[in-house]
């Protein structure tokens, strides 16, 4: 089931209205059933895969506790099943095609079978979430759980199931186990968050997505057109993915859950490292804790640390998709982080540049991130090579004008994101206007009529704009494919 459908709205309304009439135990059972319905809405067999992952991880974690002498073996079983599922459904064809090409390059012709499989939506998300549990139990950070319903709900909780945030057992599983209280003020905030998510998806992401798709369907775009398309894609992926996270967080609040913030205004980051503290936070921290730190993290020499960073980014790139462009994208970001850190240390630059230079620092960081979106969006290596050497000198006047027009059009659709980011920047930098407005907002208190009136007007305005300006070309959430 997709979020931007009437099916989903009715589904949530029905599930919520029954949910709060149940005891805690039945709430979990009800929510688990609803999550399986949500996940199996189009392809019911997806649920079987999830049940396999859930059962193996539930069993493996208990065995680790019951039979500590062989706990490494149970960890491998969990890793093997989860990564094996990912390998078959997501990476098998990629691997086979590359093996075939390598063999062909030395004159060996083989035709291994290619699997015609549908990639189960969200498999990369829930397998990583389930894996985090078994690894945490293996490390002794938490006890193995003995309640199958609670654990299954932790894996399947539908608001964030398909595209995150990737929640840790130490956070979400604890919330599953604890009785939850209905908080009407938070539910009201959640409505606003959901409306903002829908607005970002339907008005911003889908409209700029049309521009990006147009440019990346062109066999010979000019330099200006190409980079306008990259710019549009950078806005699309942020609006699209953060929209999903907002809708997920808002929906979860209606069930008394709090999901972690997944995007913290990445386009006001002041360095590549800062960008990754703000972009897809749940995945970045997952890789930090389960890949980077186990590799040695920062406790090793500078060279080894940089190698660890590059390896982590490379794997993170591959997580996004079975294609070399994602690997390149990961390497590109890894290199950015390593180079900026090294240069910063050598030149003794401050982490945040002072005064107006801060804007320059942000523009440089965000520009570098946008260049990275070219690697992410262009899956065809032949085209990618061509795009990297495109020159503005080859453009005609009309092509230049069209490039500028597309850029302005993307920026126009993206204006609500810029305003939101500008506000966040003001908050971080302590701008007087923002401080004043936010202090007034806080002073109203969560249950004041004036605050509710403002929220009602804002939510109504977003719904109005969705009705009028939603793109007529409905695009899937980008991260569904991962």
């Amino acid at each position: 089931m997709i979020f931007h459908s009437l099916d989903f709205l009715v589904f949530v309304a029905v599930v919520v209205s029954i949910y709060w009439r149940l005891s805690h135990r039945w709430q979990n059972i009800w929510l688990l059933g609803a999550s399986y319905v949500f996940y199996g809405w189009v392809h019911p067999w997806f649920v079987i895969l999830m049940l396999v992952s859930t059962t193996v991880d539930y069993w493996a974690a208990q065995r680790m506790e019951d039979d500590p002498a062989r706990k490494k073996g149970y960890l491998y079983a969990s890793l093997g099943v989860n990564l094996g599922m990912l390998g078959v459904f997501k990476y098998y064809n990629f691997f086979i095609e590359n093996v075939r090409e390598v063999l062909a390059s030395v004159g060996l012709t083989v035709s291994p079978p290619i699997l015609e499989l549908v990639l189960p939506a969200g498999i990369s998300f829930y397998t990583f979430q389930a894996l985090s549990y078994t690894v945490e139990v293996y490390w002794g950070h938490m006890k193995a759980r003995r309640n199958a319903v609670d654990f299954a709900l932790f894996v399947a909780f539908f608001p964030h199931l398909v595209a995150g945030p990737i929640m840790r057992a130490t956070n979400l599983l604890v919330q599953v186990e604890r009785p939850r209280a209905w908080n009407i003020d938070r539910a009201r905030d959640a409505v606003l968050l959901i409306a903002w998510g829908f607005f970002k998806k339907l008005v911003v992401a889908d409209n700029v997505g049309v521009i990006a798709n147009r440019v990346f369907s062109h066999q010979d775009p000019s330099f200006e057109m190409l980079w306008a398309g990259v710019f549009a894609f950078g806005l699309q992926i942020y609006a699209d993915f953060s929209a999903y996270s907002d809708i997920a967080r808002g929906t979860a609040r209606w069930f008394g859950f709090e999901l972690i913030l997944n995007f913290n205004h990445p386009y006001i980051a002041h360095s590549p490292t800062d960008f990754w503290h703000r972009w897809h936070i749940s995945l970045s921290t997952w890789f930090r804790d389960f890949v980077y730190i186990p590799l040695g993290g920062s406790r090793v020499g500078a060279f080894q640390r940089d190698a660890n960073l590059l390896a982590t980014f490379l794997i993170s790139g591959l997580w996004h998709g079975a294609s070399w462009n994602y690997v390149l994208w990961g390497l590109y970001h890894g290199t950015l982080v390593v180079v900026t850190r090294t240069v910063g240390t050598l030149l003794r630059l401050p982490a945040k540049w002072p005064g107006p230079l801060a804007i320059v620092q942000i523009v440089l960081t965000v520009s570098a991130a946008f260049v990275g979106w070219l690697f992410f969006r262009e899956t065809n290596p032949d085209f990618l090579r061509r795009w990297l050497v495109l020159s503005p000198a080859e453009s005609t006047l009309m092509e230049r004008q069209v490039g500028v027009y597309l850029f302005v059009l993307a920026a126009t659709w993206g204006a609500p994101l810029f305003l939101d980011d500008l506000w966040a920047l003001g908050r971080e930098r302590g701008w007087r206007l923002v401080r004043w407005a936010e202090s007034r907002w806080e002073a109203m208190g969560p249950a004041s009529v004036s605050r509710a009136l403002l929220q009602a007007t804002a939510a109504g305005a977003m719904v109005t704009l969705i009705l009028v300006l939603r793109s007529r070309v409905s695009l899937d959430f980008i991260y569904f494919q991962f």
Partner: protein, 386 residues
């Protein structure tokens, strides 16, 4: 007041809030209702905005079951005159599947006398509703009597009435639709009788969101060009140039352009879909006006050097379609599996890159339909008997 009430409230994180009094217990619910009220009421401002910007709204168009009020493009009446005066020997109706395959001038040269007129009723990215309306309101209305009218389609398009009927696609219909199209609207209503569609329509009608879209969206799309050059028509002309730069000819080979042959995800079933399709309407018109129609199913993009895979349901669908059309007196031709329709003939998706070559193959395959008139009667019986 609000601060005082906030201070009295427990922290949202407190596990057990203190028991509130009757009025303060009701208040949070009232605030939640206020939020819901805002969501329902604020969009009504669109009605005022529409009134201020466009005044009286245009009337509901020719498809009341589908459309909301919006300005319509003019009907292309000149096509009727062109058909009437040109009296073409062959008329072709279709979308880019036809547009990228048939070269009308080249076909005219390949005809029996070498100079007979071939007419195109063509609009890219259209579907059976457009083809039916073009057939009815332009060809039939012109009174022209071509020897054969060809209608090009892919797979299940002919019976998928809703294919390219909504949103931006639907606007192309304006140029071939008259003020009222009750038969087509009846079919659309059959497809749009679900609760979800009714809900969407009620929302759109209540808030008048579609009329607002029709002026607000172009204003956003064109503000920059208008700011650069406010002269009337400049923005529209610039958009036309942009469309040319992104025309079908410029699409990448690997994008799979125009692969969407159908809106339906159901498995094909000809007899299920026939009653809600335009096919019976086309056949009734062709019989009433003595027009011979040949339906041409184009071959979709081959896979390597093989024709595209076809599911057993699709094979059965096409067999049922062919049998029904022939029973109705129409001709049917299928490119699928033609040994000359190889991958090198294709450009992007199902589009073809060499119109002259396709036209020659087509001319050869349907040779009897292009023979001189005195041989045509025998020729048609040959085609019908295949």
């Amino acid at each position: 007041m609000s601060s005082a009430s906030t201070a009295a409230r427990p922290s949202p994180d407190a596990s057990r809030p203190a028991e509130p009094s009757g009025s303060s217990r009701a208040r949070p619910w009232l605030l939640l209702l206020l939020l819901g009220f805002g969501i329902l009421v604020v969009p009504l401002s669109l009605r005022l905005l529409n009134h201020a910007v466009v005044g009286d709204l245009p009337p509901i168009g020719y498809l009341p079951s589908l459309e909301i009020r919006r300005p319509h493009q003019p009907f292309r009446a000149e096509t009727i005159d062109e058909l009437r005066t040109g009296n073409p020997a062959w008329v072709f109706i279709g979308d880019s599947m036809m547009g990228t395959r048939i070269d009308p001038e080249h076909l005219g040269r390949l005809s029996s006398t070498g100079d007979e007129l071939v007419s195109f009723l063509y609009h890219a990215a259209t579907g059976p509703a457009w083809w039916y309306l073009a057939f009815k309101n332009q060809l039939v209305a012109s009174g022209a009597k071509p020897r054969v009218t060809f209608i090009f389609f892919r797979d299940t398009n002919l019976t998928d009435t809703m294919f390219r009927l909504e949103g931006q696609y639907g606007r192309a219909l304006d140029e071939v639709a008259t003020a009222s199209e009750p038969e087509l609207d009846r079919l659309v209503a059959e497809h749009r009788k679900g609760d979800w569609h009714r809900t969407h329509r009620v929302i759109a009608n209540t808030y008048q969101s579609d009329p607002a879209t029709s002026w607000m969206e172009p204003a956003i799309r064109r503000w920059w060009v208008r700011w650069q050059d406010p002269a009337p028509g400049t923005a529209e002309a610039f958009e036309w140039n942009v469309d040319q730069i992104f025309s079908v000819d410029t699409l990448r080979y690997d994008v799979g352009a125009d692969f969407a042959a159908s809106d339906t995800t159901d498995s094909p079933d000809f007899h299920r879909d026939l009653p809600t399709s335009v096919l019976p309407l086309i056949m009734d018109l062709s019989r009433d006006h003595g027009l011979r129609v040949c339906f041409v199913r184009v071959q979709r993009r081959p896979v390597g050097n093989r024709p595209p895979e076809q599911s057993p349901e699709l094979v059965r669908y096409v067999a049922d379609l062919k049998a029904w059309l022939e029973q109705q007196g129409a001709l049917f031709h299928d490119d699928t599996g033609d040994p000359e329709m190889t991958l090198d003939l294709y450009r992007d998706g199902d589009h073809v890159n060499d119109r002259r070559r396709y036209t020659e193959i087509f001319r050869k395959r349907l040779d009897p339909l292009f023979r001189p008139l005195d041989q045509a009667r025998d020729a048609l019986s040959v085609v019908e008997g295949r």
